[in-house]
């Protein structure tokens, strides 16, 4: 029977043969739990007992939970500070690294290294940086200049940026590489033509380089936004004694979900939070694609 197929049909058969495994995997590991989570968000369940129908009770509770709104705000602060800061940093680094021949490879490795390091190890190193005298690196440095101490991780205002910094740093290497690939893809003659026309470097940057990098920028913005909205391991590891920081000032949505599910065993409530996160991710990504993509 197979022999009677056209070449095109045979190709399709083979394509599906290879696709079958990931498709089954995705159905079982991804789509089933996703659908299940949406179902659980309308139920009450403590992981061991029976599931009972709860209607929109979980969502109503979420709406009236001040902690949730605090967490919601935190999550967006991670996004709104983290994405632009890492975008600009990554571009500035890539832009200059691209022009540099000396130690180019070495520097690129240095920037990429944090991306390959496990978040847990990194979080603990940064946690050590932030400790008070005589342990913490930053405070020791401040102290040796006679400057006052800063309670990085115990301040309700500073704890979030203090955790965001290593998270930005960790993702930077990847973004630098992507930006450099984008920069390399711009033909050199574009710049040479601009040189002959005599426009300034500033004009070249704003009117040639950046517009041509648009697809790269769209990718990085969406990609890093998703990353910041899902931030968890840095926060969890840097504030282990008091997960979520002082007065929940650093707690992101994913951490709240984790605590609700596996500390309070309130699966229905956790599932409702998950659904909210899912909708936020979906909304933000679609919005960004819409705004940034070429009209």
């Amino acid at each position: 029977m197979y022999r009677n197929l056209t070449i095109q049909q045979k190709k399709i058969v083979w394509a599906w043969a290879f696709l079958a495994l990931p498709v089954i995997f995705y159905l079982v590991i991804r789509f089933y739990p996703t659908a299940n989570a949406m179902l659980i968000s309308f139920q009450s369940w403590n992981l061991l007992g029976d599931r009972t129908w709860a209607g929109i009770e979980n969502y109503a509770r979420l709406w009236n939970d001040p902690v949730f709104w605090q967490v919601f705000r935190n999550t967006f602060v991670y996004l709104i500070i983290g994405t632009p800061v890492s975008l600009v940093l990554a571009f500035v680094i890539a832009y200059h690294l691209d022009k540099l021949a000396f130690m180019h490879g070495f520097l690129r490795v240095l920037y990429f290294l944090p991306f390959m390091t496990t978040a847990v190890a990194m979080a603990w190193v940064w946690r050590w940086f932030y400790q008070p005298i005589p342990i913490g690196f930053f405070n020791n440095t401040l102290g040796s200049f006679g400057l006052p101490q800063i309670e990085f991780l115990r301040s309700t205002t500073l704890a979030l940026p203090a955790i965001l910094a290593p998270a930005v740093w960790a993702g930077l290497g990847f973004q630098v590489i992507i930006f450099m690939a984008g920069l390399r893809a711009i033909p050199r003659s574009y710049y040479e033509a601009a040189r002959i026309d005599g426009v300034s470097d500033w004009t070249v940057l704003w009117e040639i380089t950046l517009p041509l990098l648009r697809p790269t920028i769209v990718f990085i913005v969406v990609f890093s936004s998703i990353g910041f909205l899902r931030i968890f391991d840095h926060v969890f590891n840097m504030t282990t004694g008091d997960p979520g920081g002082p007065l929940n000032s650093t707690k992101p949505l994913v951490l709240m979900i984790y605590q609700t599910a596996f500390a309070d065993f309130n699966m229905g409530y956790a599932a409702a939070q998950t659904v909210v996160l899912f909708l936020v991710l979906l909304g933000v990504s679609l919005l960004q694609l819409r705004i940034l993509q070429d009209r």
Binding site: P187, S189, E192, A193, R195, I196, D197, G198, V199
Partner: protein
């Protein structure tokens, strides 16, 4: 006056010298084509003139002004690139206007110039389009337009036609030539295509291995090639070369026959006799070599015939209607006036008129 002078121009990348001290004078309004095989240094020369690269030594003068130390923008040149270098995210209007960004003209004057250029290039209707909506030839014209608005002393073209298909290339060739006759600026045009060079140039400069081998009018380099390289590079199919020795009554070929050319050289000196395929007379009087037809290439109005001869494979042209048969033996001769002779070791012509 907006002529151009290159004096002893040398360019080296590290230890590799790619341009070995070339000198060239270009008159105001002249259309000069630099032609040669890839890697001959023609594009390097152009980039040096534009100021995109710095010469290792030597001088560049544009309009009687030494520009060695000037930035590209201060040289008053414009360049059209092989890939056009027009910006995909800008409209045609913005692309052409980009050439005027730094000029101090008032805005209205700029607009006027832009419209004029668009009119000359017949692009007025296309000004609001993006490059992706244009054909290859139209993009080419945008690139030329961007160069034109600046009204430069010298236009530089870097193989601008090589991305176009054959038909469009012929068309653009004509358009650029017309444009030159109309605006009259000095043009330096780089190509590897000898047909392009022959058809467009006031003067052809043939380069090889970082040297200028000959500079002259198209007919000059065709009828009076200074050396073997030029002789074989210009003209298609290539000139035939028959090895021989200088004899009292001409050049003695390996097959024993004598080609009747008087040359001013020591007897017994090894030379090569050059005959263009067009110049072979088939089965005429006084043939000097015989051969068997092995391949025929009909081109319609004429047929190229490849012959197996004692001097190796030779190419000749025959009529289109009654070409010789495969396997047919032909006697080849040529008019004395059309025969070239080159020194076998140096390749220099020993019979220049």
């Amino acid at each position: 006056m907006a002529g151009l002078d290159l004096r002893n121009l040398v360019k080296a990348y590290g230890r590799t010298e790619v341009l070995h001290g070339i000198s060239l004078h270009v008159d105001d309004g002249e259309f000069v084509v630099l032609v040669g095989p890839s890697g001959c240094g023609k594009s390097t020369t152009l980039r040096l003139i534009a100021g995109l690269d710095e010469p290792t030594s030597g001088d560049i003068e544009i309009a009687d002004r030494n520009v060695n130390r000037l930035e590209p923008k201060d040289r008053n040149v414009a360049m059209v690139f092989q890939n056009y270098a027009i910006y995909p995210h800008m409209t045609v209007r913005k692309n052409i206007g980009f050439g005027l960004r730094t000029s101090r003209l008032p805005k209205r004057e700029k607009e006027k110039r832009l419209e004029e250029v668009a009119a000359i290039l017949e692009m007025t209707d296309l000004l609001e389009r993006k490059p992706a909506q244009l054909s290859g030839g139209q993009r080419q014209r945008v690139a030329i337009g961007r160069a034109m608005v600046r009204d430069p002393d010298v236009f530089l073209f870097d193989e601008p036609l090589s991305n176009l298909d054959a038909q469009l290339r012929t068309l653009m060739r004509l358009e650029i030539k017309k444009l030159h006759q109309r605006v009259g600026n000095t043009i330096i045009f780089v190509t590897h295509d000898q047909v392009e060079a022959m058809t467009m140039a006031d003067r052809i400069v043939i380069m090889n291995d970082g040297n200028i081998l000959q500079a002259g009018t198209p007919s000059d380099v065709y009828y009076n090639p200074a050396n073997r390289f030029v002789a074989q590079f210009i003209g298609a199919p290539s000139m035939n070369m028959l090895p021989g020795l200088v004899a009292p009554d001409g050049v003695r070929l390996r097959n024993g026959s004598t080609v009747d050319v008087r040359i001013d050289a020591r007897e017994g000196r090894p030379v090569e006799v050059g005959v263009r395929p067009d110049d072979f007379i088939l089965d005429g009087p006084d043939p000097f070599i015989e051969g068997t037809v092995v391949v025929r290439e009909p081109l319609g109005h004429e047929t190229l015939v490849y012959l197996e001869t004692p001097a190796g494979e030779l190419t000749a042209k025959a009529g289109g209607r009654t070409p010789p048969e495969l396997g047919q033996r032909l006697a080849l001769g040529a008019d004395t006036a059309s025969i070239h002779v080159f020194d076998a070791s140096t390749g220099e012509s020993v019979r220049r008129r």
